[in-house]
């Protein structure tokens, strides 16, 4: 049965549209799985739920007294804690201005074979009242709910 050229054209357009949208959605979902970074708390890492060979983020507080700086390079080793479990972190770039012991940080990176988190970037905000939502979340999940505002 012959289709009218007008209708045939419209059908082709619609089909092309569906194929196009399908391809885009497929690509987006594929890339999503590869490139999105999960957020994991120190407690969850200790429980063994850290993904292997994938970049993810952890958040918590810099444990007081844990920061060790190298005397020859920029390498800094410290511990991120949610007051329940600890994770050893190493970082060899410039620390953000607000990096302090006892303050909240969010680190992005991978676990190495020794179980040390090798950070590729560290986030601490330029606002002193700031606590990253991830940090609050990590502390809450570990059973230490934090008041939203530190100011009295």
């Amino acid at each position: 049965m012959a289709m009218k050229p007008q209708r045939k054209k419209r059908l082709t357009t619609i089909l092309a549209g569906i194929v196009g949208v399908g391809a885009i959605v497929g690509l987006v979902l594929y890339a999503s799985d590869q490139q999105m970074n999960l957020f994991i708390t120190p407690t969850e890492i200790n429980a063994g739920s850290a993904p292997k060979d994938r970049i993810f983020r952890i958040g918590g507080l810099v444990k007081v007294g844990s920061v060790v700086r190298s005397q020859t390079s920029l390498q800094t080793d410290f511990i991120i804690t949610d007051n329940f479990a600890d994770v050893n972190v190493t970082y060899d770039k410039i620390m953000p201005d607000l990096f302090r012991e006892g303050q909240g940080v969010v680190a992005m990176g991978k676990m190495n074979e020794q179980g040390i988190f090798v950070a590729s970037s560290i986030l601490a905000k330029h606002d002193e009242e700031y606590k990253a939502p991830e940090v609050l979340d990590a502390l809450e999940r570990a059973g230490h709910p934090v008041e939203k505002s530190d100011k009295g």
Partner: protein
């Protein structure tokens, strides 16, 4: 006094906007000329009220009136005067006042320049803008009033403006960005009016085009300034982070770019009507969505103002009303808008259709990546979508766009015979590939993306220039040739060259930048590429509102000193904040960038230092400037100025005006 006066003016503006939203619209519906005639004076008054209110806040900042909470929290008596002014838009309340003030500026521009619109349409357009103003001014008045007092216990001095914002870039970045954001309200109002009247044709498109281009040009410059500011002020040396707040401004830009192109088709061919309508509605909706994301505090970034659920709810409600009513109107009325589809595969129409599809795709990608963390969080999963995700998806549609961009502008509407173009296009393609290979070879290392990016840059630039020579081939002198080409085409080509200049900058700086974080001692040197950086002095300096450590770096090339850089680490006294002030030696070919981390010993002689050599990064922003200039040029085209009011017979008039305005 000024605070109460400013506040009173906001209330007045709110009442005026309600009147403007109701009376002219009602007048146009029941054909009451008295009501219709209120549109212009109401719009003018709204503008005057907003201007005066804005000036009241500026005045409060200038005289250090710390009885006003907003001033007390965002200024300080030690702040230099120009920053006292820019501190007005340094945080949520004041920046939203600026936002509404700029919106009133667009409104008055429409009121004064829109004389060529039919009387009822003119009234409706202003009325729709009035309804939007109701949303904006009530938001300002009820959730974000900048004039609230701290009486009776007001502070002696202010808390200070965030030092990140004490910068020239911040003086001009927000106003231009907002001009772009709210500027799309005009094309939105045109589209809504057209839907109400059930008529959307070439004439409507021609009215809308210059407004859209104006908003788009402002947004382009606004985004570019934001990128430039982030580069030199945030101390990380990056120019784009795919940060939600950047995406918030990039979404309406992408959608607005698609809109500009589909309006061109509606204007010239009286087709693509529903595309253009849908894009007008979605571009402004995306502007509002961006506002919601940034101002509600659901996303955290440099831009997010304090977390306030009430504000978030308000904007979300406003967004829902605007998008909801626009969508309903579109669903029920757009079927009245008929489009004929009659073009072949090789035609300008087809290429612009591809342009629209690709830009909409890109918009969806960015929208998905920006919103996905919020959606995932609603399902109890915490994750972030960072630059790698965007970088793996976004270039796809862009490459396709640039390939098409080398051909599309040269084609005729409706149908084109490619035979004549085959030879020049082949030559341009060969030249582009060769030049791209040569640059790759000169830069030292081969990267596939650099090769692709540069080839496309040359491809688009040469084909654009070739097209201009073709348009003017019958004239002899350069001046005659330029006079031959209409501003629309000149502007278009300039903007297209601008976007590939940016593209070239992006690929070159992304792949050839050298970035190093180092531990350096006073007197020590470090070599990067052909440059040697020597740390030669550490000093303490005192300024009015901050103290700083300034470190001197001498830069050598071939043992010749070429530059001295002075990065600083500042401590702002009032807010007790630490700031990194990078120093940059800029040139088109490369930037040398030095920023200080922190002192690594007690004597202050050892520092963590960040040194970057970034080739061709300036091209990124230069390209954006060219794009905006192209936009301004196109906007000034005669054909928009010569628009006659089609009171007598709109359709006939539109046809007459369309008669080949390409080549004057």
């Amino acid at each position: 006094m000024h605070a109460e006066f400013g506040n009173y003016l906001l209330v007045l503006a709110f009442i005026l906007s309600v009147a403007l939203g109701v009376f002219p619209m009602l007048g146009a519906t029941i054909k009451n000329d008295t009501l219709v005639a209120t549109a212009k004076p109401l719009a003018l008054l709204f503008f005057v009220a907003m201007l005066a209110s804005f000036l009241c806040l500026v005045y409060a900042f200038l005289i250090d009136d710390f009885t006003i909470t907003y001033v007390a929290q965002h200024s300080n008596s030690l702040l230099p005067t120009q920053f006292k002014v820019s501190a007005v838009w340094g945080a949520h309340e004041g920046s939203f006042l600026l936002w509404v003030f700029i919106f009133s500026g667009w409104m008055i521009a429409v009121a004064l320049l829109g004389n060529n619109l039919p009387r009822y349409s003119y009234a409706r357009v202003l009325s729709v803008l009035g309804l939007i103003a109701v949303g904006f001014s009530s938001f300002l008045l009820f959730t974000s009033n900048p004039f609230e007092r701290t009486l009776p216990f007001y502070p002696v001095d202010g808390t200070d403006l965030n030092p990140l914002l004490q910068d020239f870039g911040l003086i001009i970045h927000p106003p231009l960005l907002y001009m772009g954001y709210v500027g799309f309200a005009v094309s939105f109002a045109f589209a809504i009016t057209a839907l109400i009247e059930g008529e959307w044709n070439a004439t409507w498109a021609r009215w809308t085009r210059p407004w859209t281009i104006a908003a788009w040009s402002s947004l382009t410059i606004g985004i570019m300034l934001g990128s430039w500011w982030a580069y030199y002020e945030l101390g990380w040396g990056g120019w784009w982070f795919w940060d939600p707040s950047e995406n918030a401004s990039f979404l309406p830009w992408l959608s607005g770019t698609a809109l500009m192109h589909s309006l061109a088709v509606t204007d010239k061919r009286n087709s693509f009507k529903r595309w253009a309508l849908a894009l007008s509605l979605s571009t402004f909706s995306l502007s509002l969505l961006g506002t919601f994301l940034i101002r509600s505090g659901v996303l955290t970034s440099v831009h997010s103002f304090t977390n306030d659920p009430e504000r978030g709810r308000f904007i979300l409600m406003f967004l829902a009303i605007v998008v909801g009513s626009a969508l309903l109107l579109f669903l029920f009325r757009s079927s009245k808008v008929k489009t004929k589809v009659d073009f072949s595969v090789v035609s300008k129409d087809m290429f612009l259709l591809m342009n629209n599809i690709l830009f909409v795709t890109a918009t969806f990608i960015v929208l998905f990546g920006t919103l996905y963390p919020l959606i995932a969080e609603a399902f109890g999963k915490k994750l972030s979508v960072g630059a790698p995700w965007f970088n793996s998806l976004f270039p796809g549609p862009m490459v396709a766009l640039f390939v098409l961009l080398g051909i599309g502008p040269m084609l005729n509407w409706k149908k084109h015979n490619l035979d004549k173009l085959k030879k020049p296009l082949t030559i341009i393609a060969i030249v582009s590939v060769s030049l791209s290979l040569i640059v790759n070879w000169l830069m030292g290392e081969f990267f596939a993306w650099v090769f692709v990016g540069l080839t496309l840059s040359f491809w688009v630039s040469f084909s654009g220039l070739y097209y201009l020579t073709q348009l003017s081939r019958h004239k002899k002198t350069l001046r005659e040739k330029l006079a031959q080409i209409s501003y629309t085409y000149l502007g278009m080509t300039l903007a297209h060259i601008g976007v590939v200049v940016s593209l070239a900058g992006i690929v070159l700086t992304s792949f050839y930048s050298v970035e190093k974080d180092l531990r350096m001692e006073n007197g020590e040197s470090s070599e990067i590429n052909e440059y040697r950086f020597t740390m030669s002095n550490v000093e303490l300096i005192n300024k009015d509102n901050y103290q700083a450590t300034r470190v001197t770096f001498d830069v050598y090339k071939d043992n010749q000193q070429i530059q001295t850089l002075y990065p600083e680490k500042r401590f702002y006294l009032a807010g007790r904040q630490i700031m990194t002030e990078a120093d940059i030696d800029d040139s088109i070919a490369r930037d040398l960038y030095v920023a200080l981390g922190e002192a690594l010993d007690e004597t202050g002689q050892v520092w963590s230092v960040r040194i970057y050599v970034k080739p061709f990064i300036r091209l990124i922003w230069l390209g954006a400037i060219l794009m905006a200039l192209g936009g301004i040029l196109a906007m000034l085209d005669k054909r928009y100025r010569n628009l006659k009011s089609p009171k007598v017979n709109p359709v006939a008039n539109s046809d007459k005006n369309t008669v080949d305005a390409i080549v004057r």
